[in-house]
Point group: D2
Chain length 302, copies 4
């Protein structure tokens, strides 16, 4: 009954001022199963402020970096590059949820510390994934944004904990989640105290096999209509092939996405995971230029 | 080798003389099941010339109009609008493949004649659907571009006839067709003599129910890599709701589409079919402006 | 207006007595888009009588034979086998809708004549596919049951003609058709005069790649609830691998299917199409025994 | 490195004797990404013994009970019924992963204790779901079989813990998981020490909306070919409507499933969750009879 009171620990930007649970409950409409994340409840766009970076405002926010943290050298090269080309947030997995138990499972706490070091040296913010209560505590301590991956989108016990972790969260859509289920997953986080939620469309599972997933580009305008939360897209996991990442990134921004998350690697051919879908630095630089032009065409900047 | 970039007036059957079938068959690679439509066979982009309009060149070609031809008045108002805002091709269904036998099935030959009259008066080219041999003969006589709808994408006997119809064809992707099956459907048309094929992505069937179909935006760069044929997108049938058509149209052009096909209606609330996904004239005008800006951002024009 | 009066030529078993079109129209409920094929309209099961064979009664009807008619010898061997093991209906494609224009397209009229000869010699009824108006006329002349394949389930012009062809029809579900769309396709046939419709579930397209299609076994009880028409299943096209055909056939009958259609070949390794999913004669004989046991367990016979 | 040595705590029936990890690794084939759960590694069927009950042997094992533990009275009535009709395993959720944060989340530890009491009084074994490390510890203490639900099938940190929990596990297939991903999830559990795994097909997500999910009946023979583990089916979550549960249960057993898990409720209309898909006691009794007949037809017993 009292489960979804907004907790004090959370300071969710512009949204934080929204009222008590009773109000929230009153708002629930017959048609929409979610309330705190619904646009009915908060008609204006939410802007999620993370240090100097604002998700959901005029700027399109680019996040980029390797699938996994593999070594100190790889990471520092990448962070230096991100700083140079103006990418404000670096991604990099320390805890890796892998389909096979025999695949590289991540550098875990060591990886997190390297990410923090990269932030220190190159001024990039850090987004990285948490996969259970323990890793969540560590990620919340060392990183700026907690990522919840597609496979954990309906790991409700983890979502409840994320509601109380005190950090903004990047919530990826499950690979077969409906938009309603995705917004309800966000509602779990919100109901447990955290409204600093950035939604991430990363492709859904369909019968088509040419691409790794099917980027559901329509999710951008649909979610924008239903919810006040910012939405970013992940064209790398959608495409599965680096050649298609650039056009999909342009499309995402043209559709109204508030940001992008792109896999890059200093040497994709040697990546321990997701090499085929990772851009090298030269292609990432091209992406920044081209996406910048599209952003300006739709009245935004990079 | 260059023989089947068929410019200006279409002379179907040129393909048969283009290195006879035996040669064509010899070209088939182990990996790609299609050949005439494959980029391996024709490395440059094909440009399909229809009167003054060129699909696959620098210009993004917009096609627009009602789902169905409903009346002379509706059609002339629409054609006049299209001329005024610079839409070069008008759509409008005369033969309507409807899910229910009790739904409006189209004005058929009468509709075709009205479309031809609209072309005469307002200088717009006409694209309209054929659903069997008989309607194909009529469409080829009265219209500029023959449309093959999603439900007939694997109506192979019809595809064979389209190969010999002497008109450019707009081939929609089946609602559960893989990209390979779609290109093989194009290959049917090509193998029977017609390489003036414009591919149209119109959304695929997935589990998501918010949208009518899921626009597979990735199909644009994937098809561009596999084939030399132009690709357009149909955001209206994908979205199913007019509010999402504009962002999807921008996304399509940003992804590299060579054109758009958009449903408009002078009064969507009174449309006999597809009203909810049809733009009114004001929104269509807005679309032309916004899409124009995105087109320029990717080095093209409208 | 007069389009869906039941024609005299048709003698749809128990259904034929149902009244005039006006009644039919009155029956349409807000919730169900179909009427003639709906159980609301005809509460009892329809039994479709084809010569000595009754679909929808106590007997489970097995149809079997090669994917395609390939030669006189292959066909006579098969028909002789079917007679011997008690399979009352033989399948065999004369007109083949193939994904690639370069695949074997069938023996067409010659194939039909061989099928008719096999019927003459071995007393098996013939079911074979029609793909357009011309082949429909031939199939209606030479065969006992007209098959409409998955790819033509929404070829509405063909469905209208099937409504007037004077033969019972086996209507396969489209590979991404909803149950409602499938029943509406049947409604097209019914509304144009033919209620002798046998529905066939043959697997739908999903993301799973181990099987060729996903047999939607639930469709059997769902359709039985919504419609009075008999339903059979095609485990061969669903599975795509002969090893899985037998368990799926047992499952279909246990779920309540009124029949099965199974691909067999005297020598699957040499089949011109669908070899991997074809049973050889020994496995088909095993199937008849095992399916017979399951049929009896659910109160039916083979 | 040593992570996937088989632990002593585990007593995996016939499988337990299989050797060291090095052997396991040697067995990995290029084509199959899993090894411990693969039939290549263990050609005979595994039989998972849970008290007096053996999964994977001649008997088809039925598990049944309410979606959620709601009250002591509901549970004791159900357990008494299960004992009376010969259902050896009772299900009942104490920890409920619910799509909405505002839905009933389960009685948690109190629910577990009631389940244990029911076992004590009526001699039924208990299967119930764990959703994180904490609930897993409790479930492993109070229940006989740990269930991992569809939404947690790729919660890899939980799977690792299940590998060390010392209890047999019922692993449900994720709602969009491929068969390979499902077997790899099982491999996680096996590699962390637990080979007592019962796989459960519960329907996959497709575009069809009549049913809640599409029961992938083919998964039974496919998994049986690829793996030595027993497979059961859950027709209740697949169908979403109780009327279709019985035919799907018969189909599952006919296809070769080693067991069934069925939702029942003393009064489905008042169930706190999944009422529409729950059988009442009378229908469950009918199911036992009908499924028994099909089991005997395929050479098994209930």
């Amino acid at each position: 009954m009292e489960a979804f009171v907004l907790r004090d620990a959370v300071k969710p930007g512009r949204v934080s001022q929204v009222g008590a649970t009773e109000t929230a409950e009153a708002v629930v409409s017959a048609r929409k199963p979610y309330k705190l994340v619904s646009r009915d409840f908060h008609p204006d766009d939410s802007v999620i402020q993370v240090g100097p970076v604002a998700f959901g405002g005029d700027k399109v926010i680019v996040m980029s970096g390797p699938c996994a943290v593999e070594s100190r050298e790889q990471l520092m090269m990448t962070a230096e590059f991100m700083q140079r080309v103006g990418v404000p947030v670096m991604r990099g997995g320390a805890y890796k949820p892998r389909t096979s138990p025999y695949s590289f499972q991540g550098m875990r706490l060591d990886g997190l510390k390297m990410l923090a070091e990269a932030r220190e040296r190159y001024g990039v913010l850090i987004v990285t994934e948490a996969v259970d209560h323990e890793s969540l505590a560590n990620v919340a301590e060392w990183a700026d944004i907690v990522q919840i991956g597609a496979r954990n989108m309906q790991n409700f016990e983890l979502l409840k904990a994320v509601g109380q972790c005190g950090r903004p969260v990047l919530l990826k859509r499950g690979m077969a989640a409906t938009i309603d289920e995705w917004l309800l997953a966000a509602e779990y986080i919100a109901a447990h105290g955290n409204l600093n939620i950035i939604l991430c469309e990363r492709g859904i599972r369909t019968y088509e096999t040419k691409t790794r997933n099917t980027l559901d580009i329509s999710a951008v305008p649909v979610v924008k209509q239903l919810s006040h939360l910012p939405v970013v897209i992940d064209p790398s996991h959608a495409a599965g092939q680096w050649q298609w990442v650039l056009p999909l990134a342009r499309a995402g921004v043209a559709a109204g996405a508030d940001g992008l998350i792109i896999e890059t690697h200093p040497n994709p051919a040697e990546a321990l995971s997701d090499g085929p879908q990772s851009l090298n630095f030269r292609h990432m630089e091209e992406l920044m230029e081209e996406v910048g032009r599209v952003a300006r065409a739709v009245g935004r900047t990079l």
